[in-house]
């Protein structure tokens, strides 16, 4: 019973960490903006899938929190980009993130009930960990505009909160 979520997690790690690790070159501000925005959209989509599929009150509440927060942050990000006249630029990291997210979504679509809940929440822990790692080590240090850097730093605090929240929910599901 345990092997499936672990295998799924392992697969996610392989798929998920690689694209961000590949981006060894320092990304530009338009690329950073695109990566951060894409990462938010992915989690909103994952949340919507969980709201539709899960029957667990805590899992649905968590998913609603994710949709609400990530949508709010992305609205703020778009406002800032408009103000700075920065057009987000698609890049390999964003494309790899989208690809990995699509694979995860398909995997989760095949699960139901408690198996889905566990897999979704475990992926949320892993995903936020991955995004936070990228923010800390790559995106924040690479950002050259001060306002963009500041928004990313606040984003990091928010997503660290999400990571802890996801860990709490995961612990309760066990």
């Amino acid at each position: 019973m345990l092997t499936r979520p672990i295998a799924a997690l392992a697969a996610l790690c392989l798929l998920g960490v690689a694209p961000l690790a590949q981006a060894a070159d320092k990304p530009s501000d338009p690329q950073i903006a695109h990566i951060a925005y894409t990462a938010g959209v992915i989690d909103v989509e994952a949340g919507k899938q969980a709201i539709a599929k899960s029957k667990n009150k805590d899992v649905v509440a968590f998913a609603q929190d994710m949709v609400r927060d990530h949508e709010a942050v992305n609205v703020q990000a778009l406002d800032l980009l408009k103000k700075l006249k920065v057009t987000p630029e698609d890049n390999d990291t964003s494309r790899a993130l989208i690809q990995a997210a699509a694979a995860e979504r398909d995997k989760l679509a095949k699960l139901d009930g408690a198996a889905f809940d566990r897999a979704y929440v475990e992926n949320e822990v892993a995903y936020h960990k991955q995004v936070n790692g990228a923010l800390e080590t790559l995106l924040i240090p690479s950002a050259s505009n001060a306002e963009l850097k500041s928004l990313l730093k606040t984003g990091l605090k928010i997503f660290q909160g999400h990571e802890q929240h996801a860990e709490h929910v995961a612990a309760e599901l066990k």
């Binding site: 929190d65 609400r68 927060d69 709010a72 942050v73 609205v75 703020q76 606040t154 605090k157 928010i158 660290q160 909160g161 999400h162 802890q164 929240h165 709490h168």
Partner: protein, 107 residues
């Protein structure tokens, strides 16, 4: 209709009485900005009101485990009257990395 007005009048009188009754009850403000409660630690007395002012674009909560739970919508504020003495750690349910502490003394 008349009884409704009477009820309103009575409740106003009651509100006035209640409003003036607790001597020197204060309102202590805690600001939430960029995922932080500020000040993170406050000292209050039983009967005081704590008002959380949320400057963030996100909803937050002030939650004491096994106790109270105050939801503070984005760009809004919410308050709570302190009922019991003691020290309470609280956090945000949505972002558990946000933490605060209230020390409550007797009135």
């Amino acid at each position: 209709m008349l009884s409704k007005q009477l009820l309103w009048a009575c409740s106003m009188v009651l509100a006035l009485c209640l409003g003036t009754a607790p001597l020197r009850a204060e309102t202590i403000q805690v600001t939430i900005d960029k995922m932080e409660f500020s000040p993170a630690q406050i000292d209050v007395k039983v009967g005081d009101t704590i008002e959380w002012v949320n400057n963030d674009i996100l909803a937050h909560t002030a939650t004491a485990k096994g106790g109270w739970d105050v939801v503070i919508p984005p760009k809004k504020s919410a308050s709570m009257v302190v009922r019991a003495a003691g020290s309470v750690d609280y956090y945000c349910r949505f972002h558990p990395n946000m933490m605060g502490r209230i020390t409550v003394s007797a009135p």
